[in-house]
Symmetry: C3
Subunit: 129 residues, 3 copies
């Protein structure tokens, strides 16, 4: 159920993008312990003038491979989030050659009642999930 | 005041899109009991490779008519949200022939102080709203 | 660290856009008292049919220069947010000739543990920030 908005610079092929999305999904499924089909990913791609991502003075180098992931999720523990950060960078480095310095993540929390996956029902409330 | 980000697959005409947005707005006004001009809708359209929306294993069929609505709102009751989910699918089915299985919704909550509608003022705090 | 999603109508040049983003960033750095390189801005531009922004009945005129800014941030005081609303409209009017009636802002709050700026670490938790 986490909804992932994934913001990238333009320039990837469809194949490269698919590998990237699969890598992020593997990290998410493991870190948050959710079903394999709990996959909701929305990708936007930007010219450099349309996405400015610096480093808060942390001296983190950014390249054109930079990935920003904004996750909207029901409550997750601090440990789950930290695991997600770590696994996502590991997966993206291993399978897509994206440097850990090029991966930024932000989580936004909502509640069980905040999701309807279809049919106009809130499946976490109806007992379907 | 709810802000609605509406994510769709590419392929709708302007007329079809307008009907869709009007339908969602009618459901929102009724469910949340807000003024008619409390309308803030932002639409993005995607190629299938850029928006992957599965079903958490709930066996919900998705088609190219799929609609995802992410609502940012001040606090709403559980009943208001459930009414919004139901009315939105009803309106979209009735006026746009979108199946209830093709409508997914997520709410994110913020506070009264989190909105400035113009003039640099927080209208929920100044008493204007 | 605030992450700013900035939604505009199409039609600005790169130079105009840069002035707009710089103006918003100055307001943000002052209002939230963050480092200069705490800059994370993502811009999307829309046809009028794809972004409908009315006024909740407040009688606020909107033009094609309209700017919507959605801020995701760790907790900020009410005063900080109100300062941000005021400074942003002042900066945009002074440097970009955007009317204060054309600036709408929304804040969404998350926690320190919700940010990883790179390397798979949560820098607010590790003591790096």
């Amino acid at each position: 159920m986490p909804l992932l908005r994934i913001d990238l610079y333009k320039g990837r092929t469809d194949t490269e993008l698919k590998m990237l999305l699969d890598a992020v999904h593997r990290a998410m499924v493991t870190a948050f312990n959710v079903p394999e089909r709990d996959r909701y990913q929305i990708v936007n791609e930007y010219a450099p003038t349309r996405m400015i991502m610096e480093d808060t003075g942390l001296d983190i180098p950014r390249t054109e491979k930079f990935v920003f992931i904004q996750v909207t999720t029901r409550p997750r523990t601090r440990e789950e989030k930290q695991t997600f950060y770590r696994l996502t960078t590991e997966e993206l480095e291993r399978t897509c050659a994206i440097a850990p310095s090029d991966v930024m993540i932000n989580c936004v929390t909502c509640d069980d009642e905040d999701w309807s996956f279809g049919y106009g029902r809130a499946q976490f409330l109806t007992g379907e999930l």
